[in-house]
Amino acid sequence: MTAMRTITYREAVREALREAMARDERVFLMGEDVGRYGGAYACSKGLIEEFGEERVRDTPLSEAGFTGAGIGAALGGMRPIVEIMTVNFSLLALDQIVNTAATLRHMSGGQMSVPLVIRMATGAGRQLAAQHSHSLECWFAHVPGLRVVSPATVADARGMLWTALEDPDPVVIFEHAALYNDEGEVSAEGDLARDLDRAAVRRSGEDVSIITYSGSLKKALTAADTLSAEGIDSEVIDLRSIRPLDNETILTSVAKTKRAVIVDEGWRTGGLSAEIAARISELRFYDLDAPVERVCSVEVPIPYPRHLETAATPQPDGIMTAVHRTLRR
């Protein structure tokens, strides 16, 4: 049996960065405050001392500028990791990401590739108010040419970065800000790299499929535990990859349980939950024993006060209510 050790999500990200830079000298990290300050969420603490200013680069406050520089470096043969402090700030870099990084392979007829990794924090739960707390993953998941992943566990945070760096095309990694302090187990030895392709069944069950990702996974698991005390056996699916979506895992589960609850910290309107619900009704309509339920953030900018922030985002109670509705209980 493999020996396991317990680390935090933040430590997992830091280990992954260190491993990547140690394994491949083309890898470097750049972004706002990643160097001397150690990263807004302290993910790169100590790396500037270990790898120097050449490979851990503090940038000016210009998302468009340093993301564009990352694309240029990737085109030039490097393996840059660009950190954007939060998804809200990534909007300043959307032109670079959507119009340049995602398109160049296609526009050059395959002659150019952009092996860029962009990491960014996402989500609410840390009282950072409406300009630092949104979940805009679905905006990126909309764009062909990007791969979008969302590690919800410590092991995935530790293992997805290296796989992302090996991808010849741009990969966006969303780290949920409320997860950084969470602890989890990773293997004490061996290759820790994780695939970027498949959704994972985090809890197996027969009565309902709760489909979620990122920061909502632990809420879904909490709801599933409480529901099991009532005799409701929930299956919890962690999407892991949100572009492309792993249809097979989602649909196999729904075909088994006949009921689906999608938990998405993004907004309901035009969101990822809508896409998943659409796929279920397109491909598994005849297996459904209840309308697909969605638990999403309330359609307001995420509020600052703790109680309103909690009320505005998916919580275990709301997930349980939705599960009850699918079972008509």
């Binding site: 006949k258 309901r268 459904l288 024993d289």
Partner: protein, 388 residues
């Protein structure tokens, strides 16, 4: 384009359930084509169109119950449609805070609430198990899911006796009650009766039927209806529709024929233009109508077009009935059984066969004298059966 609406198939109908579409989008429709089947209190009725068109879109799905007047399909009849101007939505004060609250979701779902909600999984499973979903008890919200199906399969819930695309006796009784109560409330009935002599008719008929193979023999109802319709054609005050304080006599006699259902209830669909049909056509029309009434398969025009009703009690029943008018008609003719009696005729007592025929008519439209004239004319028709 034009709207095709759920028709009213009787004074007592306020809603109907679409059973099936018989014409699909793109199908060409001619006047009188049956385009759909609708279930009403009087069984499944075939709905016809009244002009040439092309089926556009179905707006109601099988199983949905909608009120009379609801647009159930759009027909393309070549007419140019005025473009509809959508009312500009008032700008929201807080555009970013639009919420889809549970109340809004419940509101959107409301139109479905009246029909049985069967989940796709339950439908599929029922097919595999060979279970008729009509017998499965839904939950309190009217939903049949896998849980309800399995409970029914295990015999944990009562098996329902929902009648299939046919007639629900309770609903039919309710429909009759509504129509007859309205009639007695609104229509000032008067009644005029005569014992009509049918000896000549019956003698002629016995001779006629001896010449005919079994399958073509005439029930006496056939020449009787023919005779009454010929007389009705001459009595416009008894043949037409009274609506909104206006009586409109009809040139054609669309004779509603009261057909009783075994086990109770009756329906009076119309034989259209009955006064123009000869005996053999009328014989076939009557047989067809009775058969379809009992199978629960009538056409919408038959349900709505009657201009007068004939209620014939038949053999071995009773001598006389005082019928109640079916609104918006203005008369109903009630025929008792044929009985043998002694009559003083041409200076001697004779054995005769007679039938008491009663006219119930609407005093807002006619007087007793009119009904008497009608009965006398009918007697003349019956005296010369060979001319019928």
């Amino acid at each position: 384009m034009s709207d095709f609406k759920m028709p009213s198939l009787g004074a007592d109908m306020d809603a109907g359930t679409l059973v099936e579409w018989l014409k699909q989008p793109g199908d060409k429709l001619g006047k009188g084509d049956v385009i759909a089947v609708v279930e009403t209190q009087k069984g499944a009725i075939e709905i016809e169109v009244f002009h040439d068109a092309v089926m556009g879109v179905h707006l109601v799905e099988p199983g949905e119950r909608v009120t009379v007047g609801t647009t159930i399909a759009r027909l393309d009849d070549g007419e140019i449609e005025e473009p509809e101007h959508e009312a500009a939505a008032p700008p929201s004060a807080l555009p970013a805070t639009e919420t889809l609250a549970p109340a809004a979701v419940a509101h959107i779902r409301k139109p479905e609430e009246e029909r049985l909600k069967i989940t796709p999984a339950a439908r599929k499973r029922a097919e595999e198990m060979g279970i008729d979903l009509q017998i499965v008890s839904p939950d309190a919200a009217g939903v049949i899911g896998l849980a309800e199906l399995e409970a029914a399969a295990k015999g944990q819930t009562p098996i329902l006796t929902r009648t299939k695309a046919g007639i629900d006796p309770v609903e039919m009784r309710r429909a009759i009650a509504a129509a007859m109560a309205r009639s007695k409330r609104e229509i000032p009935h008067y009644y005029v009766s005569s014992d009509l002599d049918v000896t000549a008719l019956m003698t002629w008929l016995e001779g006629e039927n001896r010449k005919r193979p079994v399958a073509e023999r005439l029930l006496y109802a056939v020449p009787l209806i023919r005779a009454l319709c010929l007389s009705l054609a001459k009595t416009p005050e008894l043949n037409g529709i009274h609506e909104g304080d206006v009586f409109r006599p009809d040139e054609a006699v669309h004779a509603g024929i009261a057909v009783s259902m075994r086990g109770g209830g009756l329906i009076a669909p119309a034989i259209l233009n009955a006064d123009t049909l000869d005996l053999d056509v009328l014989r076939k029309a009557l047989a067809d109508l009775v058969q379809r009434v009992r199978a629960g398969r009538l056409k919408s025009s038959e349900m709505t077009s009657a201009t007068v009703t004939i209620s014939n009690l038949g053999e071995k029943t009773a001598d006389m009935l005082m019928p109640v008018i079916y609104p918006p008609q203005v008369a109903i003719i009630g025929c008792g059984q044929i009985r043998e009696t002694a009559r003083f005729k041409s200076g001697a007592w004779q054995a005769r066969r007679v039938m008491t025929v009663t006219v119930a008519a609407d005093h807002r439209v006619s007087d007793g004298r009119i009904a008497a004239r009608f009965l006398n004319d009918a007697q003349r028709q019956l005296d010369h059966p060979e001319k019928l």
